[in-house]
Symmetry: C2
Subunit: 118 residues, 2 copies
Amino acid sequence: MPSQAAILAAIASPRRREILRLVWKEERTAGAIHQAMPDVTFGAVSLQLRSLAEAGLIQTRAKSRNRFYRARPEALGQLGKMLEQMWDDKLWALKLEAELEQTRRGPRPHRRPRTKKG
Amino acid sequence: MPSQAAILAAIASPRRREILRLVWKEERTAGAIHQAMPDVTFGAVSLQLRSLAEAGLIQTRAKSRNRFYRARPEALGQLGKMLEQMWDDKLWALKLEAELEQTRRGPRPHRRPRTKKG
DNA sequence: TGGATACTTTAGATTAAACTAAAATAGTTG
DNA sequence: CAACTATTTTAGTTTAATCTAAAGTATCCA
């Protein structure tokens, strides 16, 4: 049984939240999930799927060559509501883009230097 | 106004959750918080306090040379309840110790290798 | 003013997370 | 079984988070 801490860690990542959203209402194959995230490799998606599964947030069904993933909202409790709220937010897509963008390139903007005294 | 995403990121860290717990019921000075976390420097604590403040999860009051920090549970909503649950858990102290320990040393245990076929 | 206290910030180092490319596993099909 | 498809895993790299040590800022008090 995964801990609350593991759940918090899992949903802290925008990438994992995006995956969770994709499999929230209906199951999808790993391949379909990857297709929806063209900026990372299949391998990267697979690793995040593993993290989510280890946190108990998704379940797997194997059928022929495919693996179907589906969210387990019951593992999230109230947290699920919070995520749905984030996804319903009209500005959500933009925000997510910004979040992912931030993780993609460049040094983070640093705060103004102090006004030198001497 | 900090985003939900920023809040999730902030409470994903066991160290920051520990600080949050310390200032949950009553305000404390930065120094008092640091005293309760002897395994990190004052500077490290100060940085985490900044993160928490930027996420809107704590507020500051300056009085003389001291800075008093206090949690803002209203910024956490339902999440606050979840944290309280974690802290009430009798096993909590042990679990936290384990979490922090894990971040302190050694490579994480990796899963069994596949049984070689050929 | 100068030294002590309380804290923050910076710069650089260390650790951990996330990613890529390639190899491995496993079903399916002929 | 060989080739093909779907996916996972490994090994190594890159990026981001966290930490330390030292310097900086602010307040207090003699």
